[in-house]
Symmetry: C2
Subunit: 193 residues, 2 copies
Amino acid sequence: MNPIDQLKAALSSFTEIPDEEFHFFSKNLQIKSFENGTFLCREGQIEQHIFFLLSGATRNYFTRDGKEFTVGFHFEDEFITAFYSLLTREPSPVSIEVIQSSRTFLIPRAFLYDFYDKFKTGERIGRLIAEAQYIKRLEREMELLSLTAEQRYAKLMERNPALVQGISIKHLSSYLGIQPESLSRIRKQFARN
Amino acid sequence: MNPIDQLKAALSSFTEIPDEEFHFFSKNLQIKSFENGTFLCREGQIEQHIFFLLSGATRNYFTRDGKEFTVGFHFEDEFITAFYSLLTREPSPVSIEVIQSSRTFLIPRAFLYDFYDKFKTGERIGRLIAEAQYIKRLEREMELLSLTAEQRYAKLMERNPALVQGISIKHLSSYLGIQPESLSRIRKQFARN
DNA sequence: CGCCGAGTTGAACTGAATCAAGAAACGTGG
DNA sequence: CCACGTTTCTTGATTCAGTTCAACTCGGCG
């Protein structure tokens, strides 16, 4: 599928979008590639873009006392941005690291907000994206509050086995809120059954 | 301040709202009161409303294995709803319990979505509310991931001392993700210094 | 080869949970 | 206004999930 159609399909999954509005949205987009290990946004920067991931994968994390804590992973056909910073205009607490070389559409923030101003569909898509993000965060908060490390791992396995396969122990454990050693032990347990 | 002005002030803090749109939004609202211990929404129901809290306080919580886990508190001038259920149309995982007798505006979901459809400002307010909710959730997720119980308590103290005063140990501990006994001990520590 | 980062395993440690027993606070009815 | 039962909060003793630190294995790569 060509990149523009890929974007259109992703947007259309949120709400119907009139052709002329989509055309406005997509006509000036640049494609930008990122090598493994590079960053879409670094902690402390003020986010200036939304990215649409055509291929590859990324990891959002923040640091505290020198330790890294992963808040999410993103894969192709997803929109990615340091949402907190994009919304607040404050320095991002979160870094976005490329963990599989990626091709993206680069959507400047100013352009996005212009799109919000010009079109009702724009606002709607923005609302639906924010709502979807909210739901992800709430679900995770509930899991962090109420489940043990082992239960969180089990749940992730069942919801997204591909992710569990493809991501390093180091990154996965920091997403689950545990140490790599603990995840290793949990895995051993699961392998037995 | 009269209720309508109170609502208008709260909405205006999100974005400017034209008079005729506000009039449309506010003209048919009912006021509904809730006694202490009653519920705005119960786990398993499909949320049909947004509430605007004119006075009082509420607690959002879910249960797992018979235990309660609090995800948030709300006070006057805030919008309250079982957001997950409102968005997904699925049964709410979350209950909203009144912890100080409350007066609310009752905003039916159908009416809200009608407002979204009719006005661009509607969509915008919806977007801004969802974004604000997202930020709260992200901040909490980050704290749950990276801080110890004691650090989370200290942070809450400094951010919202009134809340720490006014809420029972039981509810506060379930919000911090610890047992009441642990919170009691943490408090004793803090009292010493 | 030999190095290096990623993953595993073991042993000791610790923050918080659990269990159990009191103490304080609260409302309700006599 | 006090006596009571009920719930909330505190305190102590014990247990446990997960951390920490250290040593070892493994596969990739210069």
